[in-house]
């Protein structure tokens, strides 16, 4: 009787020590929830004389300590982080292409362009001034075109990344497959009464990752299996152990996918920057031509809205570019063109507005990213506060269970000594 009680004690403490070791081993495992051996006194033995005699202890469960409400909060925020980071990165790329403020940006090129007209106005018949004007105009045009293709590049990059994630074999399918597999494994384990704590952790990590990509909603199918819907789609991506592929169409993707869709969309943010740039190029062309060529003869600049390319009219050369109407010293056109510099509502204004707009939106995106990150970190802290492994606590437990084990062993020794007295030293009179 006593020996068995002690044995149960020894075994239980050993289990508890095992759990502690498992916790310590996984202290740095991503998504690991600490576990606890739940100890309970075994059923007591009712004595015929009345009263109950305790029979020891048993491990009833290995509990996984986690707050699923915090998981929900974390995932909602994690979606914002995914969206904010992707958007801020994409827009920053666009901002870098501007190269403003600096000597290589369009603002500086535009300024040189106006100065070239003014220099030509001072020397209307100078071949050097005309050559410089044509060169500066070409440089301006190629900077505008380079910025446009740079912005288009950011869009393309985002589209590629989007495809890489959502294509067959991409991250989304990978996560979906694993989730479906885990659903099956968890259901099977629970069916036979097991506690698949580590599988549940793994599944939560996958859901965390998925929530960075898009908005995720999780419903319980019972029996340990879940149904996961992504991006507000009409049908679940993963239902139990079944994966729907290709994924059901998302209506409100959110997260990284949402941001990538916006960046790559022909109606998205980058596209609207390109639209503003096209307006600028168009206005520049129209305003310059209206002054240079009031009678609709040979234009100075040409803008092709279809291919979004700005060019100096190839028919205009240093030999035939005009500073004015007829006489060699007539600088009326060049003078009027140089006056376009800095005009309110003019090209400088339009460009400066585009720069301010991009700057503001990048700053907003960065702020959004920082806020989302700070919030998700604070939720992660709360999550870790509940589910994380505290080494100090585990060390304390280690001592506690070790001592418990020692004490149970001592109790067993005591019982053994009692039995020794009874068996070996009793009834030995005369031996």
């Amino acid at each position: 009787m006593g020996l068995h009680t002690s044995l149960r004690g020894l075994l239980a403490e050993q289990r508890a020590l095992d759990v502690t070791s498992h916790n310590v081993a996984n202290a740095n495992t991503q998504g690991y929830s600490r576990q606890e051996a739940q100890l309970q006194a075994t059923d007591a033995l009712a004595l015929p004389t009345g009263g109950q005699l305790g029979t020891g202890i048993d491990v009833t469960a290995y509990k996984r300590i986690r707050d699923s409400f915090l998981d929900l909060q974390y995932r909602a925020q994690s979606m914002q982080v995914g969206a904010g980071t992707t958007r801020a990165d994409g827009l920053s790329q666009a901002e870098l292409r501007l190269a403003e403020p600096g000597d290589n940006g369009i603002a500086a090129r535009l300024s040189s362009f106006w100065s070239s007209w003014a220099d030509l106005a001072n020397a209307p018949d100078s071949g050097a001034a005309k050559q410089a004007l044509i060169e500066n105009a070409r440089t301006l045009a190629s900077s505008v075109n380079a910025l446009d293709s740079g912005l288009a590049g950011v869009s393309t990059q985002s589209a590629d990344e989007l495809t890489a994630i959502t294509a067959t074999g991409g991250e989304l399918q990978q996560i979906g497959k694993e989730l479906a597999g885990l659903n099956g494994a968890i259901r099977d384990t629970e069916r036979v009464g097991g506690q698949p704590n580590d599988l549940l952790d793994r599944r939560d990590v996958l859901l965390d990752r998925l929530s960075q990509l898009a908005q995720v909603s999780v419903a319980d199918n019972g029996a340990g299996s879940i149904r996961v819907t992504v991006g507000g789609a009409g049908a679940p991506l993963v239902d139990g152990s079944a994966l729907t592929w290709p994924p059901p169409a998302m209506t409100s993707p959110g997260g990284k996918l949402g941001a990538l869709m916006d960046l790559s969309s022909p109606t998205g943010t980058i596209a609207s920057y390109r639209g503003d740039l096209a307006n600028f190029a168009q206005a520049l062309t129209t305003q310059v031509n209206a002054v240079y060529n009031p009678a609709a003869g040979v234009d100075f600049l040409a803008y092709n809205a279809g291919t979004a390319t700005l060019t100096v009219n190839p028919a205009v050369t240093a030999a035939n570019v005009r500073a004015g109407g007829g006489a060699a010293g007539d600088n009326s056109a060049a003078l009027a063109l140089s006056e376009l510099r800095g005009r309110s509502g003019g090209p400088d204004d339009l460009y400066s507005r585009l720069v301010t707009r991009i700057g503001t939106e990048v700053a907003d995106a960065r702020r959004g990213e920082q806020n989302a990150t700070a919030l998700s970190e604070s939720i992660e802290d709360r999550r870790q506060s509940t589910a994380g492994v505290s080494l100090d606590e585990e060390m304390t437990n280690l001592i506690r269970f070790q001592r418990g084990y020692q004490a149970a062993a001592r109790a067993m020794t005591t019982t053994d000594t009692l039995l020794d007295t009874l068996i070996n030293r009793t009834g030995r009179v005369g031996l």
Binding site: N28, W114, G329, L335, A363, E380, S385
Partner: protein, 302 residues
Amino acid sequence: MSTPRITSSMISRSTLADLNDVATRITDTQRKMSTGKQLTRPSDDPFAVGRALGLHTEVDGLVQYQRNSADGESWTAASDTALGTLTDIAQRGRELLVRGANGTATAGERAVVADEIDQLIEAAKQTANSQQGGRSLFAGTATDVKPYAAGSDVYAGDGGDVVRSIGPGVAVVVNVRASDILGSGGGDGKMLSVLRDVSAHLRGGTSADQAALGGGDIAAVDRSIDDLLGARAHIGAVANRLSAADDRLAELEGGARELLSKTEDADMASTLIDYSMQQSVYQSALKAGAGIVQSSLLDFLR
């Protein structure tokens, strides 16, 4: 849960996040120090960048206006010199006229004077053909044309104004046309036609010629001299206006540059203070992190 559990991963994560945060700020400050600029990207301060772009445009415009004005000044200076020469020629013509008009002069003497006047006319035309940087000064906008061809008194230039822009919408006419001071084709009472008349009257020798020399011609030459003086005064006024504009533009440029520097450049003193403060925060964050992350109950159990 009155006291939140603090777990190992929380500590290392928050230490890392804080270190990252401080490191990012130090990098920003370093960038400010190494570039000397407060604004390196539009998102640093979108509206300040917008303003900086506007100020750059303004500064570039002001520099250009000064260049225009300097060009105009060289034009007026050359014109003034040429007009001075023309005035000297007219004065000399008047002296000769007075000598020739003297009743005691013989026909031979008058012919000599008339010859010199003819030379003066050629000199005046040559002076009116002066160029500045390969451009005719007195031919209007037909700067590639000489106002007077050899053997003709007809003005070959046009009536255009040579204009320099010295401010937004401020255009200054910096030229004088030869047709206004020397005349074109004769019979217009301008200097060339007056001198031609004088030469003819000197050679003529009739009493009517003599009377014209003594009376109307002197008045006509005086009017030509007045025309020249008037043109010189005008050019002088334009030159003054240009040089005043130059000074004003330089002042405006200085002001705009100062504003630009305030908008765009980093304040080195405060940037350096920021830097050393962030540096010390970084050091202490590192120290605190090292202390907390390293120690645990493990260190005290045996």
